[in-house]
């Protein structure tokens, strides 16, 4: 199982406490290839593409429009 994580230090949480998951590009339970853009975050007029750290089956932890901070695990990938 590999975590899909919001990178630490991506933004200054003192200025912008939170972001949101703006989109998931794969369905919960779907198979994803390594390196694919699986989700998009939105923070202070910035979008951030999240790449799959490995191939496998996606389990969404934070749904679309859910609130995130740097370090938040937004999904998990079951390796195949």
């Amino acid at each position: 199982m590999t975590d899909v994580v919001v990178p630490n230090g991506l933004w200054d949480t003192e200025k912008t406490p939170e972001g949101i998951v703006a989109n998931w590009f794969y369905a919960d339970g779907g198979d994803i290839p390594e390196g694919a853009t699986v989700a998009e975050l939105m923070v202070e007029k910035s979008t951030f593409d999240i790449a799959a750290p490995g191939a496998g089956r996606l389990h969404i932890v934070v749904a679309k429009d859910g609130v995130v901070r740097p370090g938040t695990v937004i999904g998990r990938i079951d390796g195949v």
Partner: protein, 271 residues
């Protein structure tokens, strides 16, 4: 033409790929071509520490954020604005509706992300560059949220209390490398009332309460003294100053390789 310039810079850097600052202008026939070019800019980064600067303009379009597509009557708004001569495009960077037109300048700065680069650091890099340029015209510039302007955000750039530029970003991970493209829309010679009208029309038809005020939107031309004259048209003069600011901003980087001269051929040809 643009590709030639990039290639020339790349060959200069051959064998010691480091920071290559490339400033170039393109005048697109349609805004979707310009937006595509901007969104692909980061893919041209060939090595760490490289930064690419793109300046472009195109005929009228309203470029909205992806979140705008979720508005209840988005499709109606697209049809309505298209009929008004403002086709609606969707961008990958964040934020809300921004205008593209021959009287606006689109600025994009793409770079690789190092450990010191955060969202705020990347915003500050481009905001400071724009601020430096506006101050070179003798203008008093403020960088703070302008809620009554279009696409409001913390890095809004205002002159005389009216927003003249707004910034947004798109971060990507590819092959283990993270890149960020910070983009700005700058109002140069466009009517602020027309901009406010078209932004408000879009949101009203789309079913959103978001609005901007014409008194909150400015234009560089209006902020300059009436008798201000330059050796070249204002848009070209501005592009040259931005390119110079970019070179100055990066002058202290020991890995930097000189940028090619700014090319304004396509701009001149279309004036």
């Amino acid at each position: 033409m643009v590709s030639d310039i990039v290639s020339a810079a790349a060959s200069t850097a051959a064998g010691r790929c480091a920071t290559v600052s490339v400033a170039f202008f393109d005048d697109f026939k349609t805004a979707d071509l310009g937006l595509l070019r901007q969104e692909q800019l980061a893919e041209e980064i060939s090595c760490n520490h490289q930064r690419l600067l793109l300046l472009w303009r195109a005929p009228r379009a309203l470029v909205v954020g992806r979140s705008d597509t979720r508005l209840p009557h988005f499709a109606n708004a697209v049809d309505h604005l298209g009929a008004e001569g403002w086709p609606v495009l969707i961008r990958r960077s964040g934020g809300s509706a921004c205008p593209v037109s021959r009287g606006t300048l689109q600025i994009a700065l793409a770079r690789t992300v190092t450990s010191t680069i955060t969202i705020d650091a990347a915003y500050t890099e481009l905001a400071n560059m724009i601020r430096t340029v506006l101050e070179s015209y003798g203008l008093k510039v403020a960088t703070r949220r302008k809620s009554s302007g279009f696409c409001p955000g913390r890095y809004d750039i205002s002159v005389n209390g009216r927003k003249v530029a707004g910034l947004s970003q798109h971060w990507r991970q590819r092959n283990g490398q993270i890149t960020v493209t910070t983009a700005a829309t700058m109002i140069i010679e466009e009517d602020p009332e027309e901009i406010a009208h078209i932004v408000n029309l879009f949101y009203r038809v789309a079913g959103s309460a978001e609005r901007c005020s014409s008194s909150g939107v400015g234009a560089l031309r209006q902020d300059l003294p009436v008798d201000a004259t330059f050796d070249t048209p204002l848009m070209e003069d501005l592009c040259n100053r931005i390119a110079n600011a970019a070179r100055g901003e990066w002058r202290n980087d020991p890995r930097r390789i000189s940028a090619p001269p700014f090319a304004a051929r396509s701009l001149s040809q279309n004036n």
